[in-house]
Symmetry: C2
Subunit: 364 residues, 2 copies
C-alpha cells in the first residue's frame, strides 16, 4: 500500500522494551532502579489532586466536559486573560501539533534553535515543512532575526527555559525580538519549565498576559507535566489572541483529555503550595549538582528548570557514561543525538540525587 509521500521523511519511532525492563535484565531489582530521564516531578503530585481524582474514579465511564470550562476558567484567572484566549491540549505537545497543522504546510519553513525540544521537528515533518535551525547552543535572538529576515519562516519556536539545555531567554530581550517580527509569522514561546525559571530569576519570567496584550501573532505554551507533577495525565495549554485560539480549536478533537486529567489539572492549579515546594526543593537539590560538577571538573549549564545538563570532558563519552549508569540502575538522558557530549539529569529527591552522585563518581 502507498502512503502520502511526506511519510517517507518521517522516521519510524521504534518503541522498544520499557527501560525499566532493560535495567532488570542486568539483575537489578525494580526498587533499586532510579529514573532521572524524563523531568518528572520527583515529589509526585499534590495530595489534594490525588484525593480529588480518587473521589471521581467511578466516573471513568463518562466522557469529560468537552467545554473544559472549569479548567479554562481557572487558567484564565491564573493568567488574567480571557477564557477565549485559552486552549487545552493532551500535553502542550498537542497544541504544537494543532498550530503546525493550522499554519504550516509542505511549502513552509519553521525556525527553531539548534538544540531544542524534539517535538517541534517531529510535527513539522508531519506536514512536510522545511526545518531551519540556528547554529548557537543557546537561543541567539540576533541569529534568529537574521534567519527570519532571510528566510521568512511561517513559525518560529522559542523554548524558554530551553529543553534539553536548561538555559533561558531574558524576558526584555524576548519582547524586543517579538516587536520586530511581522504579524503573519507565528511565534511560539514554549514555557513548559517557566514555573521554575520565574522563581530562580524574575528577569526570565514571560507572562502570557503581556504576550496576548501586545501581540496577535504569539502563542504561549504551558504544561501540567512538570512543576504541577502531572506528567502522566497529559494536560498542557496554549494562551494567545482569541483569533489564533479559534483557528486551533478547529483542529482539536473532541474529548482530547481524559475525565480524570481534567479534574487533576483543575485541582492542581489551586494547590500553589505544592508547586512552590517542588520548585524550592528543586533548586536546593540543584546546588548539589553544581557542587558535584565543580568537584568532577565538568561543565554544568546554568539551569532554570528541573534538570541539569552536564557537559562532559572529551575523554568522557556521554553515550558510554549513560550506558554505564544504566547498568547500575540509574537512567539518565544521553544527549549525543542532539550533537552534545552531555547527559541530562532530572533533579530528583535528595536520596535519588545522592545515589546519582555516588554512581557517577565511580564512573566519571
Amino acid at each position: 500500500m502507498n502512503f502520502n509521500s511526506k511519510m517517507k521523511d518521517i522516521k519510524n519511532y521504534e518503541a522498544g522494551k520499557p527501560i525499566e525492563l532493560v535495567v532488570r535484565e542486568f539483575g537489578i531489582e525494580p526498587k533499586d532502579i532510579i529514573k532521572l530521564a524524563s523531568n518528572e516531578n520527583p515529589n509526585g503530585c499534590s495530595k489534594k489532586v490525588q484525593d480529588g481524582v480518587s473521589k471521581i474514579i467511578s466516573k471513568m465511564a463518562l466522557y469529560p466536559d468537552d467545554s473544559m470550562i472549569a479548567l479554562k476558567s481557572a487558567l484564565s484567572k491564573r493568567f488574567d486573560v480571557g477564557v477565549s484566549n485559552v486552549i487545552i491540549g493532551s500535553g502542550s505537545d498537542q497544541v504544537i501539533e494543532f498550530l503546525i497543522h493550522a499554519k504550516a504546510n509542505s511549502e513552509s519553513k519553521i525556525l527553531m534553535n539548534s538544540i531544542t525540544f524534539a517535538m517541534y521537528e517531529i510535527y513539522a515533518k508531519h506536514v512536510g515543512a522545511e526545518i531551519l535551525r540556528t547554529s548557537s547552543q543557546e537561543h541567539d535572538l540576533d541569529e534568529f532575526y537574521k534567519i527570519y529576515k532571510e528566510e521568512k519562516p511561517s513559525i518560529i519556536f522559542l523554548c524558554t527555559p530551553n529543553n534539553p539545555t536548561g538555559d533561558a531567554i531574558e524576558a526584555t530581550k524576548l519582547f524586543e525580538f517579538l516587536k520586530k517580527i511581522d504579524s503573519d509569522t507565528l511565534v511560539v514561546v514554549d514555557g513548559a519549565y517557566m514555573e521554575y525559571a520565574l522563581v530562580k530569576d524574575s528577569s526570565k519570567e514571560v507572562k502570557p498576559k503581556d504576550l496576548v496584550e501586545e501581540f496577535d501573532n504569539v502563542i504561549y505554551l504551558g504544561t501540567f507535566s512538570k512543576a504541577y507533577g502531572l506528567g502522566g495525565m497529559r494536560v498542557g495549554y496554549g494562551v494567545a489572541d482569541a483569533k489564533i485560539i479559534k483557528e486551533l480549536y478547529k483542529l482539536r478533537p473532541p474529548f482530547n483529555i481524559t475525565t480524570l486529567s481534567l479534574e487533576a489539572a483543575t485541582i492542581a492549579l489551586g494547590d500553589e503550595e505544592f508547586v512552590n515546594k517542588s520548585v524550592v526543593n528543586n533548586f536546593n537539590e540543584m546546588k548539589r549538582y553544581e557542587e558535584f560538577a565543580k568537584e568532577q571538573k565538568i561543565d554544568i549549564i546554568n539551569s532554570y528548570t528541573n534538570f541539569v545538563t552536564l557537559c562532559l570532558n572529551p575523554n568522557q563519552i556521554s553515550s558510554v557514561i549513560a550506558d554505564l549508569l544504566l547498568k547500575k540502575g540509574m537512567i539518565v538522558r544521553d544527549l549525543s543525538s542532539y550533537g552534545m557530549n552531555a547527559i541530562r539529569v532530572t533533579v530528583g529527591t535528595q536520596e535519588q540525587n545522592s545515589r546519582f552522585f555516588e554512581l557517577a563518581s565511580e564512573i566519571l
Copy 2:
C-alpha cells in the same frame, strides 16, 4: 494572521456551556438530570478497574510506559494477532486521525456511508480530502462498490455496527466486499460497538484476526469507551497488517494516552464478566425500548449497539422533541443534523430508561 487555506473549510466547533449547566437553568437539580446522549456505559466501569487505578493514583506524575507493552500484549492475546498488528490511540478517534493523515491528502477521496460516525468527515477535512457518501441509510455494499469503481477513493470507512443508526453489516457480505477492493485502497472497519453486536447476532461478528490474515489493506478499530465502560479515559486501538501499523506509528505522538488510562484499559480487558453483564443488561433493557416504540407507533431501528434510534413520525419534529425532553432534564441526541427525523437514546439503567419512557410518553 493567515492560516492554511484548508482551514477555511473546517467549521469552528463552538464548545458551549456543558449541557448539564443548561438543564440546571431550567431549575432542575443535578440529581434529576439524566444523560442518555453519549452512549456511555450506564453500568459505569468495572470495579476491578476502579480498584486498580486507585492503587496507582500516586503515579500521575510519571509518564506512561510509551511502549504500552502490557496493553498491546493483552490485546494481541485477546484477538490472537501479533503485537506488531496493534496500535493504541487516544480513543479510536486518534487512530482515525493517524490513518487519514498517513493515507489521504487534498487530492484524495474518502468514501463513507450517508449517515455515519461524524469524526470520519471531520478528520478528512483536516487534510482537505474530498468526501464521498452513499445514498442509503444502511450500509449498501453494492452502492459502496459502485462508487469505489467510479471514484477510486483512497480510504473507505465501514462502521459496523453503525453510529448513529445501530444497524450492522453481515460479516460474510463484508468479506465478499473486501475481496473486491484493490490493495492500495485502505478500508477501515470500525467496530466500536462490536462487543454488543456479536452477542446479539454472531453473523455480524467481524474478527480482527480474520481481517489481518486475509487482507493487507484493512484496519479494524475498537474502543474501550463503550462495553468496557471507559469513555472518559480515551483509549481505542487499531488492528491491521504490521506494515500499516508501522506507518501509523510514525504519526503517533509519544505518551498519547495517560498513565491511568493505560492501567484502566489493561485491567478492563481482563474483566470479561463486567463486559458480558453490561451487554446482557443492555439487550434486556433494549426490549423495553422496542415495546415502547410499538406502543407509541414509532419506528425503531434494529440495534446491535448500546443505543436505540427512534425514527419519529412526520408530526413529531425530532429537534422539538429533544428540546422538550431537555427541559425536563432528559438529555438525548437529536439526529436532525444527520438529515434524520429521529432521536438517538443510549440504553441506560432500568431506572433511567423508565424515566425516559415516562417523559417521552408525555411528549410524543
